[in-house]
Every structure is written in structure tokens, then in C-alpha cells.
């Protein structure tokens, strides 16, 4: 075994459903929400130069699934991957720095917002060609089985990805080989601007396809971290114990547009209002409080996250831009780009 990303010893297992774990799921959602809002501000200030795809409104999915995972599990995400990167421990400062093209960025500016990767946290990358990473997640799962570990691979993707060929190939291979993969479809009802229902032959783009791979349909409320966590825990256990892959469809909504400054105006006002009312954060906070978690603790979590985000943003802003001296490094394993010998 040659690649040292796999040698890290697993940290202690997470995934308990106790009150503490649920408070942590709240924290996870708050951290992402505040990070994303700040990313948007930086975009409006023209400090994030390329594009960025925010997960505001969808935080419960990343939080619920991540809490069901072990640190040595593998996670693969899309261009809408800030939430997943942060959930796997990617430092916020380096994330902001990457978005702003700084030398201290998570990938030193080479990847940008759409490609956040944090191999130290087994966050194996964000992929910007719709569908591709589903097949790659299979590979990580296959490798885990081959190496005799009980690691699980998770791939997050959107509703739109269910109509691309790679989705089909990935699901069939995973099911046939009984790979330990959890495919998590974040169905936010829209592709870029087109409603998924307009271009899909079935009502639930993922769940209604599960049977085509011999899998049971799993449909959850993607704005409820507990529901997501429960479904994910079951799927992860199934994968870890040799039961093969799962396809989980979490129905959710992005509060903003698809990317950058898209105002998302193609969506009916009532629909937006309805989903804003289902905002996973206040909903979860209310639930926790209803179950006896003290408000000051939750306030504290919010304040801590605010501080963390503010600090990270300022640090990142202060960092120098990516250095053109490194333009040609890391094309090949010997550190540079030369195609000559």
C-alpha cells in the first residue's frame, strides 16, 4: 500500500445520537451557515473571483451525514462542497483563502471554490463535472474492501446528477460489487435554473431509481438533521457490515441562487417562502430547546462560530495571493510540470 492518505489511524468513532451529538450537529450547521454567508459577502466584495456555490438552506444534510461517519471514512462532494469540506475538518481559514486565491489556500489557489479537497480529513475532493465523483467514490470503497478495512465512502450530489450516465454506471457497479458506498442525493428541486421535475421521468430522481439497482428507496427530509442522521446511520452501518451501497435522497432547498450572484428568480415566491419557513437551523434550534437544551449553550455555539468565521476571514484576507512561482508545481509526482525528460 503506497499512498499515505490511507495510513492515518482512525480517531474515535462518532455517530452517537445522544443530546451532545445533536448539539454538535447544530454546531455543524451553524458553522457552515456562517461560513457560507461570509463566502457570499466576499463574493459580492469581489474578493472571491471565480464562482461559488453555496449550501445555505441545505446544511442539515452535511451535518446529519457527517455525524454518522468515522474520521477514516471517505467523503466526496460536488462544486457545492464547502459544507462537506468544513464538516470533514478542513480549516476555515484555508477554505476562505482558497476561495480568494491565496497562497495559504487549501490547495494553494490551484483548485478554487469548486474543488475543495482536504485529504488529511479523508475529504477526497470536490468535483465540478456533474456525476463523475460517484464513480470515484466506488473506487475508494472498493479499495477499502480490498485492503480489509471497514471504511465507508460517501458521495454527495445533486438531483440533477441523477440524469447523467455516470450516476447509472456508478450505482450499478456499487450494487453489483456490494461496495460500501453511501450515495447521498441532495435534492434541492433545481439544477442550475431548471426544476428537476421538468427534465426527469420520475418524481423522486434518486429514490424512484433505487430499484433499478436492487436497492430500497430511501427518502428523507433533508432539512431535518435528525432524519438525515438516522437514514445515514442506517446506510453507513449497512455499508460497513458488508451489506452494500445505499441511495439516500434528502429533499432540501437552497435559499439562494445556484451560484455566484444568481438571485434565483426562476423560483416562485411562495415556494421560496415555504422553504424559508422550513429553514433547518431555526427549526433544529427550536427542537433542541424544546427538548431542554439551554438557550445560552446554543447562543454560545452561534457566537463561537461567528468568531471562528470572522477570524478565519480576516486571516485569509491578510494572506498573500497565490504565488506564480508555484504555477507549474504538482502536475506530476516529481513536483513539477515538465513533459520533457
Amino acid at each position: 500500500m503506497s499512498n499515505d492518505t490511507v495510513k492515518r489511524p482512525p480517531r474515535e468513532a462518532e455517530g452517537s445520537r445522544g443530546a451532545e451529538a445533536r448539539v454538535e450537529m447544530y454546531r455543524a450547521q451553524v458553522r457552515v451557515r456562517l461560513f457560507e454567508k461570509e463566502a457570499y459577502n466576499l463574493f459580492l466584495q469581489n474578493l472571491v473571483k471565480g464562482t461559488s456555490h453555496l449550501a445555505i438552506g441545505q446544511e442539515a444534510v452535511a451535518a446529519g451525514v457527517s455525524a454518522a461517519l468515522r474520521p477514516d471514512d471517505y467523503v466526496f462532494a460536488t462544486y457545492r462542497g464547502h459544507a462537506h469540506a468544513i464538516s470533514r475538518g478542513a480549516p476555515m481559514t484555508a477554505c476562505f483563502a482558497e476561495l480568494m486565491g491565496r497562497e495559504s489556500g487549501l490547495m494553494a489557489g490551484k483548485g478554487g471554490s469548486m474543488h475543495l479537497t482536504y485529504a488529511k480529513g479523508n475529504f477526497m475532493g470536490s468535483y465540478a463535472i456533474v456525476g463523475a465523483h460517484l464513480t470515484i467514490a466506488n473506487g475508494a470503497a472498493w479499495s477499502a474492501v480490498y485492503r480489509g478495512t471497514d471504511q465507508v465512502a460517501v458521495a454527495f450530489f445533486g438531483d440533477g446528477a441523477t440524469n447523467i450516465g455516470a450516476f447509472h454506471e456508478a450505482l450499478n457497479l456499487a450494487a453489483t460489487w456490494k461496495l460500501p458506498v453511501v450515495f447521498v442525493c441532495e435534492n434541492n428541486l433545481y439544477m442550475e435554473y431548471t426544476p428537476i421535475s421538468q427534465v426527469t421521468a420520475v418524481a423522486q430522481p434518486a429514490a424512484d431509481r433505487a430499484s433499478a439497482y436492487g436497492l430500497p428507496p430511501v427518502l428523507v427530509d433533508g432539512n431535518d438533521a435528525d432524519a438525515v442522521h438516522e437514514a445515514a446511520t442506517e446506510a453507513v452501518e449497512r455499508a460497513r457490515s458488508g451489506g452494500g451501497p445505499s441511495l439516500v435522497e434528502a429533499v432540501t432547498y437552497r435559499h439562494g441562487g445556484h451560484s455566484r450572484a444568481d438571485p434565483g428568480k426562476y423560483r416562485p415566491d411562495e415556494e421560496v417562502a415555504e422553504w424559508l419557513a422550513k429553514d433547518p437551523l431555526p427549526r433544529y434550534r427550536t427542537r433542541l430547546q424544546g427538548e431542554g437544551v439551554e438557550a445560552p449553550l446554543l447562543d454560545r455555539i452561534e457566537a463561537d462560530a461567528r468568531d471562528e468565521v470572522d477570524r478565519a476571514r480576516e486571516e485569509a484576507k491578510a494572506a498573500p495571493p497565490a504565488d506564480p512561482a508555484h504555477l507549474e508545481t504538482e502536475v506530476f509526482s516529481y513536483g513539477e510540470s515538465s513533459w520533457r525528460r
Binding site: 490551484k110 440524469n163 450516465g165 513533459w339
Partner: protein, 325 residues
């Protein structure tokens, strides 16, 4: 009176001109109808021509190109958008094995009058999977015509020529040029595929460029003129067919050849052009052929890196100066 419009607007102008003329012209692609395209290049066409002729698709690029191909062989003239040119990779089979080869394999039984539109090239800080210049990939495939306009007028005129052509035309719209403006002729405008344009006449050196790089080459020629170096800038406009006679005439005049290419170093159109010159214009050459390209790397996202990667006016100036020095 000629109008000034953006390169982005020119796409819809060109398409509308052809759709009005010929009811068999239809458009498909992701988000091209209601949203007017992610680059807004098809804005207004749904309103003008209706949902039967301007259709949104699922994220299924193979299905998009397959639909275009099947429709083209049965009487329509589809124009399919692939959004970012990089996405040709998910439907490469349709492009290289099916669309490019159908006429030849069937000995002419099948004609494919279709256009594939791509948002091509970098400069927008989108990173390695959304910034590629794929004209070299396409030029390498027998059976495809490949066009890269550099001005709004060329977008309109070459689009019309592409739509009217009986063969599959890969139409590469330079993303970095969408916001740029220029004059377009009044009335119907139809250009000709396979014709290069000398954008600036000169006698000391020939600079061959394409798309976004034409403007950098012109910028460089302007600076070099101030130093007394008189460059000819040739906008190739079309890679297949390639206007070899205009290329050769320029080389005969200047004896010095430079190419300015946005793609990475290996096997791009610059290599092909250099090889044509080295074979066919050898005795006209007074100095080595020099190619300016992006280094052989994936494009980085950070602005400081992307700016260092893609050929700049300064880099072109430096290479030409050194090449003539």
C-alpha cells in the same frame, strides 16, 4: 447603420437570424430556454421562437448530442449547447465516434448539418474543469469543422455559415469575450468557414492567433510597433477548414512565425500550424517558429495563477522581441 453589440448578444442575434430563415433550425441544451443559457447567450430566443424550437434538457450531454445527431440525420438542423467546453468530455463519444464519422462510415448516406456550441476557454477563475480550450481536441478529429470567432461580427457571420453548413460544426464561443463589444453589419450577415483574416498587416513577423488570443496578439503588435517592430496579426477564425494559403502568404512576407494559443502546450493547433509551416514554408522561414501557449498544466483557479498561465500581451511582446532579436 452597423450596430454595436456584445459577443454574448451576437450569439442570439446569429441564431435568431437563422431560425427566422429556416424552420428546421432548433436549439437544445441545459438551461438554454427559460434561463436563456448560463452565459445568457440564448436570452430571448425562447420568447421569440417558443418551447418547441428552444428546449431545456436534463444534465445528459450524451442524450443532448445524440438527440442533435438523430435529428440532423432526419431533416432538422439542430444547434446544441454544451455549456462549458470542458463538458465535451462527458459526451466525447458522440462527438468523435458518432457525429464526426457517420458520413464517412456510411459513404455519404447520412448527412449531419448540426452545430455544437461550447463556452470555451479560461480567464474567469473557474479552475481546471471549467476553463479549457478544447479546439485542439476537436481539430484532431477527422470529420469535424471547428470555428472560433473573436468578434461579435464573426459570431453572427460564422454562426450563420455554421448553421447553413451540411457538416457538423463545432462552434467555440470564447467565454472571456462574451462581455466584449463590437460592430455587426446591418441586415443578414453570412460569413464563410475556413477563411482567416489579417487583422493587422505587418512585415517583420507573423503572429497567428485565435479567439481571445487575437486581442492579446493585437495588443502585443501595438506595443511592438512602438519599438519599431511591425507585426502582422492573422486571426485564423477556423481551424477546419484551415486557411493555409493566407497563412503561407503571411509567412512568405515576414519569414518569422509566432503562434499565440490559449491551450496547454502539447498537440494544440499551434503545433499543427508550426508543422505546416515547417513542412510547406520551410524556405521562407528566417528564424525558428516560436509558440506562445499556456504551460502544459491544468488551469489554476486563483487569479494570480491564471493570469500567469494564459499568454498575456507582455509575454507575447517578450517572445516576439526575443525571437526577432
Amino acid at each position: 447603420m452597423p450596430q454595436v453589440i456584445t459577443y454574448r448578444e451576437a450569439v442570439a442575434v446569429g441564431l435568431a437570424q437563422e431560425m427566422e430563415r429556416d424552420p428546421s433550425v432548433v436549439l437544445i441544451g441545459e438551461d438554454i430556454a427559460t434561463a436563456g443559457g448560463v452565459f445568457k447567450a440564448t436570452a430571448g430566443l425562447l420568447e421569440k421562437f417558443g418551447p418547441k424550437r428552444v428546449r431545456d434538457t436534463p444534465i445528459s450531454e450524451q442524450a443532448i448530442l445524440g438527440a442533435a445527431m438523430g435529428a440532423a440525420m432526419t431533416g432538422l438542423r439542430p444547434v446544441a449547447e454544451l455549456m462549458f467546453a470542458d463538458f465535451v468530455s462527458v459526451c466525447h463519444d458522440l462527438v468523435v465516434n458518432q457525429i464526426a464519422k457517420a458520413r464517412y462510415m456510411t459513404n455519404g448516406q447520412i448527412s449531419l448539418p448540426l452545430v455544437v456550441r461550447f463556452g470555451n476557454g479560461g480567464g474567469l477563475r473557474f479552475g481546471a474543469q471549467h476553463s479549457q480550450s478544447v479546439e485542439g481536441w476537436l481539430m484532431a478529429v477527422p470529420g469535424l469543422k471547428v470555428v472560433v470567432p473573436s468578434t461579435p461580427a464573426d459570431v453572427v457571420g460564422l454562426m450563420a455559415a455554421a448553421v447553413r453548413d451540411e457538416d457538423p460544426v463545432m462552434f467555440l464561443e470564447e467565454k472571456a469575450l462574451y462581455p466584449t463589444s463590437g460592430e455587426v453589419p446591418e441586415g443578414e450577415h453570412v460569413d464563410e468557414l475556413g477563411t482567416a483574416r489579417v487583422r493587422r498587416a505587418g512585415s517583420d513577423a507573423s503572429i497567428f492567433a485565435l479567439g481571445t488570443m487575437v486581442h492579446r496578439a493585437l495588443g502585443a503588435a501595438g506595443q511592438l510597433a512602438a519599438e519599431g517592430i511591425d507585426c502582422e496579426v492573422v486571426d485564423l477564425r477556423s481551424l477546419v477548414p484551415l486557411d493555409v494559403s493566407t497563412v503561407a502568404a503571411s509567412v512568405a512576407k515576414t519569414g518569422r512565425v509566432f503562434t499565440v494559443e490559449e491551450g496547454p502546450r502539447l498537440c494544440g493547433w499551434g503545433a499543427e500550424l508550426a508543422s505546416i509551416v515547417a513542412e510547406e514554408c520551410f524556405y521562407d522561414l528566417d528564424a525558428p517558429v516560436r509558440r506562445v501557449t499556456t504551460p502544459h498544466i491544468p488551469l489554476p483557479a486563483a487569479d494570480s495563477l491564471e493570469d500567469a498561465a494564459i499568454p498575456s500581451v507582455e509575454r507575447v511582446v517578450a517572445v516576439v522581441r526575443e525571437g526577432l532579436g
